[in-house]
Amino acid sequence: MAANPSEIETLVQNRKYAAGFITDIESDSVPPGLSEDVVRLISARKQEPEWLLEFRLKAYRRWLTMREPRWAHVQYPKIDYQAISYYSAPKSMKDAPKSLDDVDPKLIETYNKLGIPLREQEMLAGVVPDRPQVAVDVVFDSVSVGTTFKKKLAEAGVIFCSISEAVREHPALVKQYLGTVVPFADNFYASLNSAVFTDGSFVFVPRGVRCPMELSTYFRINERNTGQFERTLIICEDDAHVSYLEGCTAPQRDENQLHAAVVELVALDRAEIKYSTVQNWYPGDENGVGGIYNFVTKRGDCRGVASKISWTQVETGSAVTWKYPSCILRGDDSVGEFYSVALTHHRQQADTGTKMIHLGRNTKSTIVSKGISAGHGQQAYRGLVRVGEKAEGARNHTQCDSLLIGSNCGAHTFPYTEVRNPTAIVEHEATTSKIGEDQLFYCRSRGIGEEDAVSMIVNGFCKDVFKELPMEFAVEAQKLLQVSLEGAVG
């Protein structure tokens, strides 16, 4: 049968962005612009110790000498870094709330609208008793507005708080690990982040502890012309275990907003970190106006033997994405995994993938990447598998599939492999397919409407990744894809 792409395209045209509302609260923002003074001011506002100010200043000075990377398969106008405000905090947060009761009710309302209950009793209300509890940290513009279930976590010995709080309460730990996975000079955006990061989450799971619940952080950019530069640091000591999820949304605005986060994970001997992301930043409208620029450096260090770091991401938002969650497999027998679903629609562009750096012996990595492009969306998978000289018996398997919806979108695959040990086995499989009229017609001839058929086919395509997500987030991710592909039929 002849394909009739225009029809499928209309299906995915009218994507609605449900999280696009703006919260009207007074905020305390630093005027736009970046200089050493601004870096000092951020550090002072947060009453940081001297060593951290030094870290920021070193990063800032290095950043001044760096150039924005241009190798990615994305196009966007030059960003004016002097037009961005590097710090914005809701005003009522100025004296750091002691509990959620001190938090501006409008903020709580914002999160309720997003379906993220901030109060523990609300989280528990009406919930089946044996459903796993989820502790949530919430970052609004640049500031963490509260973490739930702290007490229960503390009893288990787990620290879960904002990174600002960690700097105050656990400075030795932060100092020991910050910047050890993503050095301040790593790349343009990581340096920028190191200079101006404002908040983010901190997790520390001590030796032998399995974190008793899922941990989760929700990020939201609200303020106009504000960049969000959060920094997340997760440490699992020997035999410790944690599953962590981040979710992101932003209001619908005409101008672009910059998000340049850094995430560092450290897994010691036999430790396991599972990091899941459901990213739904505002993607811009169908003409490509507005939306978030998402330039993120995420890296996990399997420092200990038999440690494991697993990245799972579902990316449906952002105007431009540049992101390669990576694993450094340093410890012998360590394992790195990357499971990704990325959807680009309208004028969205994504250049995403992963890096697996095999240094230790018998290290294993698995990459499953599912890219979906619709409308005029452009997507590139960029993956590096590097096997060092000493990585005897290293193995990698990469599966990289692209699904095209309509004929104006594109998918590109750039796999890089560098193998320096002859015993390594590196496998790569890639497919590109189209949702065909024939698949749609098959579903419709059985009574399944067009929209449901598209979302069913897409979900089927993503199945290998969804099954890696924690249960309740898998449901969330499926819904998100469905909404993202919602459109007017006929």
Binding site: M1, A2, N4, E7, G436, E437, D438, Q439, F441, Y442, C443, R444, S445, R446, G447, I448, G449, E450, D452, M456, I457, N459, G460, F461, C462, K463, D464, G490
Partner: protein, 250 residues
């Protein structure tokens, strides 16, 4: 009495290619019609046009189903009202389990007809019953729709879907092609099981052997976009013997 299906002077094209050129066919409830004809004659085209494929344009003529002109009905509406097409080349949908697919189909059809969804347990029992009837391995239910199925397994899966959905008008496009001898028997049993005074079946086939198991009431020859000859079961045997050449010459 109105016929279940009445096709009059049907013209349909794809792109600039006119495929159906004035086709007439009328099928009464309770009847089984076999359509045979040379490759490229338009048999699959007819099947897809009946099922509501939108890449074919009906340029003139009418299709009446249960007395109503269905020109304006979408494929999914036709399905909900009981038109089922068994595909000559069933499509694969990776990652969507057969079970999920069947459930989505059944419930979508019920919704369209204003009926409540089927209870999960009832549905499961119903599907299992049909799987057994088709002598299929129940494990296939958790596999992707036709994903990695052999040619014959795909055809059998078409009949399974038909049995689960219980349509009124079944248009089976070469369901017998690619089946081994045992599978042909099972598929034929499935088709016969659906035989009833309210239902009708159109079998598109190239071979007499299917018609040995499923006795047609009428046999038609479709050539160059039209029904050029109709008769009883004996016509199929005649065709098997002589081919189609003598018809075109006539």
């Amino acid at each position: 009495m109105t016929k279940l299906l009445e096709i009059e002077n049907l013209h349909a094209r794809i792109g600039d290619n006119e495929i159906l050129k004035g086709l007439d066919l009328s099928v009464g409830a309770g009847e089984i019609h076999a359509i045979m004809g040379p490759n490229g004659a338009g048999k699959s085209t007819l099947s897809k046009v009946l099922a509501g494929a939108e890449d074919y344009v009906v340029t003139s003529g009418t299709i009446r189903y249960q007395g109503q002109d269905i020109a304006e009905q979408s494929a999914e509406q036709r399905a909900a009202h009981g038109i089922f097409m068994g595909f000559q080349y069933p499509v694969e949908i990776p990652g969507v389990s057969n079970m999920m697919f069947l459930k989505a189909a059944v419930n979508a059809q019920r919704k369209e007809r204003g009926e409540p969804e089927m209870a999960a347990n009832d549905f499961l029992a119903w599907v299992r019953h049909r799987v057994k009837q088709m002598k299929m391995d129940p494990a296939m239910l958790s596999r992707g729709v036709n994903q990695g199925f052999s040619g014959g397994e795909k055809k059998r899966n078409e009949i399974l879907q038909m049995l689960v959905l219980e349509p009124k008008l079944m248009v089976l496009d070469e369901t017998d092609s690619g089946l081994d001898i045992d599978a042909l028997k099972i598929v034929s049993d499935g088709i016969n099981a659906m035989r009833s005074p309210e239902r009708a079946t159109i079998l598109v086939t190239h071979y007499q052997r299917l018609l040995d198991y499923v006795q047609p009431d009428f046999v038609h020859v479709l050539a160059a976009g039209r029904i050029v000859k109709s008769g009883g079961p004996e016509l199929a045997r005649e065709l098997e013997e002589k081919g189609y050449g003598w018809l075109q010459a006539a």
